[in-house]
């Protein structure tokens, strides 16, 4: 029988495979809907390329996009899940294996030595850990392309500008992102917390379920407002002016310092690739989605 460490490694490899190769159904449906609604020939041609490509990836079980990013894992660690400090080693091994098996493009560049060729380097894969109750380990694999990461933005907004200042920053950042991160985008916004924490909140926001609005009705209203306004910017599919600019937007909030209003914004390209799985203490694995 396999031991738990092997199970975690195998699960992480499997999650990277699923994430890189299969776009989740909700997103495919949203892109198909956009193709139906888009009138301009250029926008239609771009969306048709996107849909064909998603289909090819599914059929041939190969990466949707060549840029599978700097590999990141978001973990939720249960109180009595027995593996702790070994998780980094295990996830590094999983990353090396996935790089060969899928294959993934080697994207970890050592600042002095150049490309490490196996997607592992200092702090990479990126690992985020949150704690939770229970016996399980939940892993989300997030191979996110560099193009859409380059357009992320951060601002310490003047607190007296309030939500108006937040909205302005989101609109400005999206307008500035323009065509560069492969729209239509999925957008996560983090507000409050602190100068770094708002970026983490933005990434958490990005990963919230498609189309589901915040539990807080005030936040939900702002999500709707921003999504609508971003779509009237007119960036369009691949920045060519036709079709939707963003398919979804989520906001996560935290309390803030009286003198600070930190805002972080994180974008995903249309190929929003992530996959989640849950491993129990006893080694049972459950995958979300397909």
């Amino acid at each position: 029988m396999k031991n738990l460490e092997n199970i975690v490694e195998d699960t992480a490899v499997e999650l990277l495979k699923r994430a890189a190769n299969i776009l989740q159904d909700d997103y495919v449906a949203a892109l198909s809907e956009a193709h139906k609604k888009t009138r301009g020939e250029i926008g239609r041609s771009e969306l048709s390329n996107i849909l064909k490509n998603i289909e090819l990836a599914r059929e041939t079980y190969q990466p949707i996009c060549q840029d599978t990013g700097v590999i990141a894992f978001m973990l939720k660690l249960g109180d009595s899940f027995p593996i702790r400090s070994k998780l980094r080693k295990i996830l590094e091994n999983a990353t090396r294996r996935a790089t060969k098996e899928i294959p993934l493009r080697p994207n970890a560049v050592d600042l002095f030595l150049g490309n490490t060729k196996d997607n592992v380097g200092p702090h990479v894969p990126l690992i985020y850990i949150e704690l939770m109750e229970g016996d399980d380990l939940e892993i989300t694999a997030l191979p996110k392309g560099g193009g859409s990461s380059n357009i992320a933005a951060h601002s310490m907004v003047t607190p007296s500008l309030g939500w108006k200042g937040v909205k302005q920053f989101v609109l400005e950042s999206t307008a500035k992102a323009g065509s560069l991160g492969c729209p239509p985008y999925f957008i996560g916004v983090g507000v409050g917390g602190g100068e770094d924490y708002c970026m983490f909140l933005a990434k958490k926001a990005l990963l919230k379920p498609f189309g589901v609005r915040s539990n807080d009705p005030k936040v939900a209203e702002i999500e709707n407002e921003l999504l609508e306004k971003i779509n009237s910017l007119g960036i369009g599919v691949m920045g060519l002016g036709e079709g939707p600019t963003a398919l979804d937007l989520h906001i996560e909030i935290a309390a803030r310092h009286p003198a600070s209003l930190p805002v972080g914004i994180v974008f995903s390209c249309w190929a929003f690739r992530h996959a989640k799985g849950r491993i129990s203490k006893g080694g049972e694995v459950v995958f979300e989605h397909i």
Binding site: N49, I64, P103, R105, N150, W163, L233, I235, M238
Partner: protein, 201 residues
């Protein structure tokens, strides 16, 4: 208009294209992004001979996933990367090496637009992320250079393409730059949206 072009593409053919036209391509496509542009330009400056001739062919801003099976390279995934990063040296590259076509995503700026007009080159936008559609249009890997030194994403992959596309002309030889026009409109829309924002607190 829809065109099917074959490399080497004569300058007269390139000058017929207009922003918004759709293009499919046959022939030689060579990948080159940040590092390859830099290295090619540096070698040229030193008077060294390049391993490939860019004249009349297509440069592809891409860092593909490649797999070696026995002695043969297979293109697994090859979509475009963000071209804006190459804006700082693309005009020089076009002037010195005279490619007919630049393929990328996200568009390029004024310097590239000017070089395209002057030297008879077009920018074709290929759908970002459409890496398998890209790979499908590549029939053969004719060669690879600088792989050891620059790594898989940054080296020069020389492809034989067949019916590669569809791509959209967004910079033509007549001074048009579709991405720039869209972004000017976006900027106006943004100003208008921000002006109308209301405070809620």
């Amino acid at each position: 208009m829809e065109y099917r072009l074959k490399t080497p593409v004569p300058e007269t053919e390139i000058r017929k294209l207009h922003s918004g036209d759709i293009v499919y391509l046959d022939g030689t496509i060579i990948t080159a992004r940040d590092e390859a542009h830099k290295k090619a330009l540096e070698m040229q400056k030193k008077g060294e001979e390049l391993p490939v001739d860019f004249k009349g062919v297509a440069i592809f801003h891409a860092g593909p996933i490649m797999r070696k099976e026995r002695e043969e390279w297979i293109t697994v995934a090859a979509g475009p990367t963000t071209s804006a990063r190459m804006e700082i040296f693309e005009d020089e590259f076009i002037k010195l090496f005279r490619p007919a076509i630049i393929i990328g995503k996200g568009g390029m700026g004024d310097r590239t637009t000017k070089a395209c007009r002057e030297y008879g080159c077009v920018y074709l936008a290929f759908t970002g992320g459409a890496a398998l559609l890209g790979a499908k249009g590549i029939k053969k890997v004719k060669g690879v250079f600088w792989l050891e030194e620059l790594g898989m994403p940054e080296c020069l992959w020389v492809y034989e393409a067949e019916n590669f596309g569809p791509m959209t002309v967004t910079i033509d030889t007549h001074g048009n730059n579709m991405t720039k026009q869209v972004m000017e409109r976006v900027s106006k829309n943004k100003e208008e949206l921000i002006r109308k924002l209301e405070g809620v607190d």
